[in-house]
């Protein structure tokens, strides 16, 4: 039996304690058939990366509603590189000013979802990334 499921880690970094958004996203991704590992509040970049490795997730989703995104998220990307992890998608959601969104994307974040994004957009984005990835790895196997 061959059954691949998308695994997603959801985390909140630093002192940001607004959990409603991340809970809604968790449910919407579950309803889209994904396995969501929720790690809770007050995560450090080290905690996020270690959990992502142990859980072998495909996607790391970071929710940021406190304005501290530029303080924490680049550290997650650096830490991933230090650990040699290069096959995971990082997405960010929350209240993110445009210029921050641009520099996060330049630093390696796959997508930034801000106010006005529909919950379904995130699942859709992940699915299309996944299909593209899988196409690439099938080609590699051949």
């Amino acid at each position: 039996m061959h059954e691949r499921k998308i695994r997603v880690l959801l985390a909140k970094l630093g002192l940001d304690s607004h959990t409603v958004g991340v809970t809604v996203i968790a449910q919407s991704l579950r309803d889209a058939g994904m396995e969501v590992i929720y790690t809770g509040l007050r995560q450090t970049p080290e905690m996020v990366v270690q959990a992502a490795i142990q859980e072998d997730v495909d996607v790391i989703g970071i929710s940021s509603l406190s304005g501290a995104q530029m303080q924490h998220i680049p550290k997650v990307l650096t830490r991933l590189r230090e650990e040699g992890v290069d096959d995971k998608l990082v997405v960010v959601g929350g209240v993110i000013p445009d210029e921050d969104a641009e520099s996060l994307k330049a630093a390696g974040v796959g997508a930034v979802f801000t106010m006005g994004a529909r919950t379904g957009d995130i699942a859709e984005f992940i699915h299309s990334w996944w299909d593209a990835q899988r196409g690439a790895s099938d080609a590699q196997d051949r």
Binding site: K5, V36, M47, Q54
Partner: protein, 320 residues
């Protein structure tokens, strides 16, 4: 890029690379046929770890208790693996795995490996490949592996087939006194934990448990399951619980129970695998992979018994 070659992953996992072990578990979970070669390469190196099951109803505080047990085991110098299981949604097949939220104390300890698993339709309180995942962690050199089941009712007792020692967790105030731990679940405990023991009614739960246990036939293996009171939030009573785990391990080793459990589990894995492969082979041998028979079954033309008979007739005919 992380390798997907199971033998390379097995080797790297043995060297202690968490990413490699995690990837192998993932491939096993997905039913990747090649991954079994990696698992088999690890088997000779497994068998040293102590497997502890933690089970009980939803809300009993299992995850927090597991976190505190990990803490106590780390104080005693053990390397610890955790498999935390949550249910898959029967509708979407997705899952929310939230046990890690309560296990943050060990989030950056390199000697603790926590893996969340979804049941993916498996009944019985475990995920389908829990055994395989524990084998990987075992071969990676984790001394103790904790298996936290889904929140169970009365019948999700598969953990007892896998764990050497099973802790059944209950709490005061679950309604009709001992509802949560009647019948099947009372038989599988090697130790009974009354968690949240600071809440009113804890002593009564402990007394009722003791009374129910004494009503049973005396256990054949000579182990009388102790009742331990804990307060996970304050980590009270957890050292005593870990003492019980160690005492039970010593008892199993002395009584030959451990060897019996290991043999029993090997048989169970064999039976499961045989059943799975035999079913796949019968379907493969049938015309169009059994699709016409399945269609007839779905349309109500034939019943399930007839459907199986037809597949086996074709199987037999194909051979003669």
């Amino acid at each position: 890029m992380q390798s997907r070659d199971p033998l390379v992953l097995a080797e790297q996992a043995r060297e202690g690379q968490q990413a490699a072990g995690a990837r192998l578990i993932r491939m096993l979970e997905e039913g990747d046929e090649g991954a079994l070669a990696g698992l088999r390469a690890l088997l000779p190196h497994a068998g040293q770890a102590q497997l502890l099951g933690v089970t009980g109803p939803p809300g009993a505080g299992k995850s927090t208790l597991v976190d505190r047990i990990v803490g106590e085991l780390r104080r005693r110098g053990r390397r610890v693996g955790v498999i935390a299981i949550d249910p898959s949604s029967p509708f979407s097949g997705g899952a929310i795995l939230g046990d890690r939220v309560r296990m943050q104390t060990h989030a950056t300890d390199p000697n603790v490996f926590i893996r969340s698993m979804a049941t993916r339709g498996q009944l019985g309180g475990l995920a389908r490949t829990t055994f395989e995942a524990t084998t990987v962690l075992d071969a990676m050199g984790y001394d103790v592996i904790l298996i936290e089941t889904v929140g169970v009712g009365q019948d999700e007792v598969d953990v007892v087939e896998l764990a050497h020692t099973t802790a059944v967790v209950s709490i005061p105030g679950m309604g009709d006194d001992i509802q949560a731990i009647k019948a099947g679940i009372l038989e599988i405990g090697d130790v009974f934990v009354v968690n949240k023991a600071d809440l009113p009614g804890a002593d009564r739960v402990a007394k009722q448990l003791a009374a129910m246990l004494h009503l049973r036939e005396p256990p054949e293996d000579g182990w009388d399951p102790p009742i331990v009171k804990t307060e996970s939030e304050r980590a009270r009573g957890v050292d005593g619980l870990v003492d019980v785990f160690e005492a039970h391990r010593a008892h199993l080793e002395a009584s030959g129970g451990l060897a019996r459990k290991v043999v029993h589990r090997r048989e169970r894995v064999f039976q499961d695998l045989l059943r799975e492969r035999a079913a796949a082979q019968v379907l493969a041998a049938a015309p169009e992979g059994g699709a016409p028979v399945l269609d007839a079954l779905k349309s109500g033309e034939i019943d399930p018994y007839e459907a199986v008979d037809r597949l086996f007739e074709r199987e037999t005919l194909a051979k003669h």
